[in-house]
């Protein structure tokens, strides 16, 4: 397993006047499932496209310590739009990939296709959206790559298949592979990610480990009229009946606890994400 995976520095990408990614830094942890979490339009897909050299960008990106063009054969990518060559049958698709890709394991692809209960000799054009996604995933997962990049991999899958796919992605990191995965579905990320970054409006608001979120951060619900100094707060959100505040500083926790009516709440990924996105400087 390579120590260097994906390093992104000051990445900027604009489409006309719209700045989709605003100078972000990102370091992907090797051998882990790294999730890029954010609402639609946060800049996740643009970040992946930049990493893969599919768009022009400003900034520095290195993959496995090199430029992307030198390491493409060591990467497997599943895009948001999982359109595969639909004039082929899955069987022919596997044959094509065997000829085209250096690190492709045809037998593994066939196993995965069978596992998804896909007919091998029917044209992909006759498949449903979920079946097509399964074909794409089978082909991508059969690559003996070092880095797997997935852009919303479970979109359009039924709940059973979704869980199966998430297990497969989790299994990649168990085998020492590095995974970069985007999603806007929090429970999915909670299920499989080791490390996550929250993206919002082209910026990375937070990067850290998923484990122990509740130990590192404190979330409080305060009366709506409570007065609080914003210094030391990670996020503050005004709700209909209360103020929600989040901090990681111990002294601040003690200060908040002294406010009359303050109630401590559990920090899970959902509340953390919601507070951070709603309470970040773009909103306040």
């Amino acid at each position: 397993m390579s120590e260097k995976t994906i390093e992104v520095g000051k990445l900027r990408k604009s489409y006309g006047n719209f700045e989709a990614v605003k100078g972000i830094d990102l370091n992907i942890v090797p051998g882990k499932v790294n999730a890029l979490l954010g609402p639609n339009g946060a800049g996740k897909t643009t970040t992946l496209k930049s990493i893969l050299g599919l768009v022009q960008y400003q900034g520095r990106i290195s993959v496995l310590g090199k430029g992307i063009d030198e390491v493409r054969s060591r990467i497997s990518f599943v895009p948001e739009d999982k359109s595969f060559y639909d004039s082929l049958t899955p069987e022919k698709a596997v044959r094509m990939c065997s000829m085209m890709l250096d690190s492709f394991e045809a037998s593994r692809a066939i196993d995965l296709l069978n596992n998804f209960d896909l007919p091998l000799r029917k044209k992909i054009s006759s498949f449903s959206h979920g079946m097509r996604t399964s074909v794409y995933l089978s082909v991508a997962l059969a690559q003996d790559a070092e880095i797997f990049i997935f852009d919303e991999p479970t979109w359009g899958l039924d709940p059973l298949r979704r869980d199966e796919v998430l297990e497969m992605i989790r299994g990649l990191s168990d085998r020492g592979k590095t995974v970069l995965y985007t999603s806007h579905i929090i429970p999915e990320v909670e299920k499989i990610a080791d490390v996550f970054s929250i993206m919002y409006k082209g910026e990375v608001l937070f990067t850290g480990e998923l484990k122990g979120l509740d130990d590192r951060f404190a979330l409080f619900s305060l009366p709506i009229e409570a007065k609080i100094d914003r210094d030391g707060l990670l996020a503050i959100v005004r709700e209909a009946q209360s103020l929600k505040v989040m901090t990681e500083e111990r002294e601040k926790v003690e200060e908040i606890k002294r406010i009359e009516g303050a109630k401590e709440e559990t920090v899970d990924l959902e509340s953390f994400f919601s507070l951070l996105v709603r309470g970040n400087k773009n909103v306040l």
Partner: protein
């Protein structure tokens, strides 16, 4: 990747080939009747206005259709095959890049392969298909004529083939420009048809008639003077090289 490209164009190329083989058979079968008809028509065609004569070519030479070599080069290379050659090239070229963008399968390719490799394999496989179709259909002309009992040499066909090959790769580079610039498959076809139809119209205007490569592709100079137009050929090859470089640059910088 080469297998993939061949697999994708196989059906198109086979259909084109089958249709043109039928046209060749008809051309050979029509040999005695066409010569007779043309001789009868030659007198009437002489009365046409100049611009229509330009479209038809050398009207006086129609009387030479009794010559097997002349019949083949004028009716096959210069007509039934030659006139459709740009359409054949368009049918092969337009989906090579545009289909990948249209169907979004380009993500699969470009995330796994370098753009340079993708372009090289796609572009040159298409070009090889174009050249193979051009060469086979050109050379099958004299072969079919001889099989049908006529006495036809290969020398005119080889000369015409050289011009047609240069014309075909020029059109291929031009249509690839449309294919590589587009995100759907409709635009390159529509613009391609406009180009194929528009060029002969340009040819009507004397001052810019050299922009129309049809007379060169139809090998009318070979039918008349038996000589290859090396200057036009060289110019077309040079333009093709420039167009190829432009095609690559567009593909290299194209965002997904």
């Amino acid at each position: 990747m080469f297998y993939k490209e061949l697999n994708e164009m196989k059906l198109r190329v086979l259909i084109i080939f089958a249709v043109l083989i039928m046209a060749l058979v008809v051309t050979v079968v029509m040999r005695p009747y066409a010569a007779q008809m043309m001789e009868e028509m030659a007198g009437q065609l002489e009365q046409l206005p100049d611009f229509l004569k330009n479209l038809i070519g050398d009207v006086s030479s129609l009387t030479r259709l009794n010559d097997d070599d002349y019949y083949l080069i004028s009716q096959w290379q210069g007509k039934n095959f030659g006139q459709f050659l740009p359409f054949v090239v368009l049918l092969i070229a337009f989906p090579i890049f545009a289909k990948e963008f249209d169907k979004k399968t380009i993500y699969f390719l470009l995330s796994r392969k370098n753009r340079k490799d993708v372009f090289r394999v796609k572009y040159f496989t298409g070009m090889a298909a174009v050249l193979a179709v051009t060469a086979l259909l050109s050379l099958l002309g004299p072969l079919f004529m001889n099989l049908a009992g006529y006495s036809t040499g290969f020398i005119y066909s080889l000369k015409a083939l050289l011009q047609q090959a240069a014309g075909a790769v020029f059109f291929y580079a031009l249509f690839t420009l449309l294919s590589v610039s587009s995100r759907d498959q409709v635009r390159p076809v529509v613009f391609g048809i406009v180009i194929v139809i528009g060029l002969p119209i340009i040819g009507i205007i004397d001052a810019i008639s050299w922009l129309n490569p049809y007379p060169f592709i139809l090998a009318s100079n070979i039918a008349q003077s038996e000589n290859i137009d090396w200057i036009y050929l060289g110019a077309l090859v040079a333009i093709t090289a420039v167009l190829t470089a432009v095609d690559y640059k567009i593909f290299e910088r194209k965002e997904l």
